[in-house]
């Protein structure tokens, strides 16, 4: 476990090798091998570390490794007047929550790396190595993010994954829309990061440390800010703003659908399985803070449910296969925030894990479909692909059933846990969430139907056979096929289908670590994660887990009990087992109804969809235009920023430049004056002297006749004169 710092470092090393050497020198095989080896090593280390973590007793599962001091101690005045030594180590901490995260990141990451070797095969050599360098770099930063033991190290990872997201969205940087989408993602994330940074400042100002464990332990004994809006509420709200940016929640979700411009493995890894869950992870990491701020918790839950619902409705009317999945991701992230908001941190993390499996699976399947259709992403031009893509079809069906919440697939357990906890907390949130679950099932099965069932609607291909090999680039978007290499839809190579199958196994089985008590399970993952969400000082170790099962009242009583226990993640009151089973049945029913409706509309009677779209054309238009949110932001935020920039530019031009030019003009004119002075007065005086002398000499030089006898005569007269004076005056 002392080697956990190697887990992020190995992919970092891979990125370094591929980025510095591979881009120029490596062939595709070597570049892919380096990247995959780095990820495989990281996965092996993560598994080993996790196994070691499990072998510890439940209350001691926490291990911190401090590599070195990053920021040496700086004495700083704190908000409470004391002087604290501000010091930040390069510290990594393995505890149940980060252990779960590194498993998800390395496992899903490794499978997606393998998948990418097949999917990106059509790229040129340098671009291929570049892709894997970015992908490894992303894994590095993501692992730093989840393993960091304090806010600043987490922030390094947080910004790093944002950078990699930008680089990978804009991977096809020759394409205008891709580079725009990259910039959009980056800028929108910056807005969230602002909240995160200010939140970190406030955490330090309040607690005098940035270490997660120290902050949680310090916050544990503090009172729950039930009525007012205190420091903890402000801190958690700011942190949540950061989470909305990274995890694509209202109002900052707009970048995620556009991020689908990146290659599909990127969408799967970064924009579905790992990076976008960083916000959820961050909220879970600060569970103690959040559970002390019920106001923020309500905000989190409401934002989560609103995002889940809104994104699901948009997902109903999208035609781009990846966009449907993107809105589905936004919606599922909303579910996770519902869980966080109602205090079910473990359920949120559980859903994060299962979602990572089935959403990565769905994205990779969509990538396989796009690969088969030679870059086509519009579902209206697909259909009837089931016989062509048997493996993709089967695995995607597994993913769809999992996300729809059909037991016993993974999505059922995690989503049902969230719905159950939401029901305990607030009935309206629960109701909207169930409706969202129904829509989720509906739009996912719509996607399945449009893609795999019905008649083939895509372009024709040359019938005569030959190898249906991939002599083409199946890169998402405009790269596609160059010319006539396409021989019709075909199954993807083994490097792509094997990860699909493995992820499908994961999507089926991942839920069994959290079988709820009502179904006779132990909800193992919840007990496992529990220590990460509580302050250590709150209760004697070992008593923590049982204590959380103590009966608690609903609503206010639950909050009161939480404040008494000083820990936020305990279970709220249990319903009777039959009621719990009833809720479960209801959520399963929602999934089945959604699937059945989609099957009825899109497979059995496709004309119904047309009729519906016509009858509700207004609503349909609003949905397919994504509620015009992009347009709204364009008209307000973007136009406002541009206007302000223009105003500043005008100010710069007229006032700042004016001042500079004015002072220049002043210098020039004063120089002109002094030049005139010099020329006419100083030089004038000198020239006057010369002129006077010249004029005088003009007269006097007449005396110099050059006639010697003249001189002699004058001399004679002079002698006469002097002698006369001598004689007469004497």
């Amino acid at each position: 476990m002392d080697l956990i710092w190697l887990i992020p470092l190995l992919p970092g090393l891979g990125a370094l090798v591929n980025g510095l050497v591979g881009v120029r020198a490596f062939g595709k095989r070597t570049a892919g091998l380096v990247a995959n080896a780095a990820m495989a090593a990281a996965l092996a280390l993560a598994l080993y570390a996790f196994w070691q973590l499990l072998s510890l007793p439940a209350d001691a599962r926490e291990h911190t490794v401090r590599l070195a001091a990053w920021i040496p101690p700086i004495p700083l005045a704190l908000g409470n007047g004391a002087i604290g030594g501000f010091t930040v180590p390069w510290g990594f901490r393995l505890d149940p929550l980060s252990g779960l995260m590194i498993l998800v990141v390395t496992l899903v990451g490794f499978l997606i790396h393998v998948y990418s070797t097949g999917y990106m095969h059509g790229e040129t050599r340098g671009a291929y190595a570049r892709f894997f360098a970015y992908l490894n770099l992303f894994a590095f930063f993501m692992l730093v993010l989840v393993l960091g033991d304090n806010f600043l190290v987490m922030f390094v990872g947080w910004e790093g994954v944002g950078l990699c997201s930008y680089l990978l969205i804009g991977y096809y940087y020759e394409k205008q829309s891709a580079s725009d989408a990259g910039k959009k993602a980056f800028i929108v994330n910056r807005i969230g990061d602002w909240g995160f940074i200010v939140g970190i400042f406030m955490v330090y100002g309040t607690f005098g440390t940035l270490d997660f464990r120290a902050v949680a332990d310090a916050a544990g004994p503090m009172g729950v800010e039930a009525a007012g809006f205190g420091t903890l509420s402000i801190i958690t709200l700011l942190l949540f703003i950061g989470a909305t940016g990274k995890s694509a929640q209202i109002p900052l979700y707009v970048w995620l659908p556009d991020a689908m411009e990146g290659p599909t493995p990127v969408s799967a890894l970064i924009h579905a399985a790992t990076m976008v869950t960083a916000g959820v992870y961050m909220v879970g990491r600060n569970a103690v803070l959040f559970s002390h701020a019920p106001m923020t918790m309500e905000v989190v839950a409401v934002v989560g449910v609103a995002t889940a619902f809104m994104a699901a409705t948009i997902g109903l009317a999208q035609h781009d296969i990846k966009r449907v999945l993107a809105y589905s991701t936004v919606s599922q992230l909303g579910f996770m925030f519902i869980a966080m908001g109602v205090g079910a941190f473990a359920a949120g993390a559980f859903h994060l894990m299962t979602h990572a499996f089935f959403k990565a699976l769905l994205f990779l399947c969509s990538g396989s479909v796009i690969h088969a259709m030679a870059g086509e992403q519009d579902m209206r031009r697909m259909g009837g692909l089931k016989p062509h893509l048997p493996i993709t079809y089967a695995t995607m069906l597994v993913g769809t059933l999992a996300i729809a919440g059909i037991p016993p697939l993974s999505g059922f357990f995690s989503k049902d846990e969230i719905l159950y906890r939401a029901f305990l907390d607030h009935k309206v949130i629960w109701g909207v969430a169930v409706a969202t679950a129904l829509m989720t099932a509906f739009y996912m099965y719509r996607l399945m139907s449009l893609t795999f069932f019905g008649a083939y609607r895509g372009p024709a291909w040359e019938a005569h056979g030959g190898r249906a090999d991939h002599g083409h680039a199946a890169s998402g978007g405009g790269h596609g096929h160059g010319g006539g290499g396409w021989r019709g839809p075909h199954e993807s190579p083994r490097s792509m289908t094997v990860p699909l199958q493995l992820l499908a196994v994961g999507a089926v089985l991942a839920g069994f670590v959290g079988v709820p008590a009502a179904l006779g399970g132990g909800n193992a993952i919840e007990h496992f994660l529990e220590p990460s969400f509580v302050a250590r000082t709150a209760a004697p170790p070992g008593a923590t887990a049982p204590a959380t099962h103590e009966a608690r009242g609903l609503g206010e009583a639950a909050h009161a009990a939480e404040s008494k226990g000083g820990e936020g993640t305990g279970h709220a009151a249990h319903l009777s087992r039959s009621a719990e089973l009833g809720l479960m049945a209801l959520s399963v029913l929602a999934g089945i109804v959604g699937i059945a409706a989609a099957y009825r509309i899109f497979v059995r009677a496709p004309e119904i969809a047309e009729t519906l779209a016509r009858r509700w054309s207004g609503a349909h238009r609003v949905l397919s235009n994504k509620y015009y949110v992009d347009e709204l932001y364009g008209a307000t935020v973007v136009a406002g920023t541009m206007g302000a920039a223009r105003g500043l530019w005008a100010f710069d031009r007229s006032v700042v430049d004016g001042a500079v030019n004015g002072s220049g003009w002043l210098t020039v004119s004063s120089a002109w004056v002094s030049h005139a002075l010099d020329k006419y007065i100083v030089d004038g005086l000198v020239n006057l002297v010369g002129a006077v002398l010249e004029a005088g000499s003009f007269v006097v030089r007449r005396v110099q006749t050059g006639l010697v006898q003249n001189y002699a005569l004058v001399m004679l007269f002079g002698v006469f004169a002097f002698v006369s004076v001598y004689l007469f005056v004497r």
């Binding site: 030089r701 110099q704 006749t705 050059g706 006639l707 010697v708 006898q709 002699a712 004679l716």
Partner: protein, 100 residues
């Protein structure tokens, strides 16, 4: 009886002749000769006073002046010769190189 006054009158006459010659003649050789006249007028003056005052210093001075006059004539003739080689004239009015 010839007195000092007679000598002085002769000396004045000779000197005046020399001055007029210097001022009026254009030939530089004649001007030199006129200067010799003036020098000799001075010599008469010196000798006359030497005799009158019974002091031999005046005669010594006269001999000295004769020597100087010989040297002066030699230098002057040399200059004239050099000038003549340049200008091919002995007209005093052509000697105006230092004029403005």
């Amino acid at each position: 009886m010839i007195t000092a006054t007679h000598y002085l009158l002769l000396s004045v006459g000779l000197f005046s002749l020399g001055v007029i010659g210097v001022l009026t003649r254009r030939n530089i050789i004649i001007i030199l000769m006129s200067i010799e006249l003036m020098l000799n007028a001075v010599n008469i003056n010196l000798v006359a006073f030497s005799h009158e005052l019974q002091n031999v210093v005046g005669q010594a001075f006269a001999v000295f002046v004769i020597v100087i006059a010989a040297a002066e004539a030699a230098v002057g003739l040399g200059i004239i010769l050099a000038f003549y080689r340049n200008k091919e004239t002995v007209n005093i009015d052509e000697m105006n190189l230092l004029r403005w």
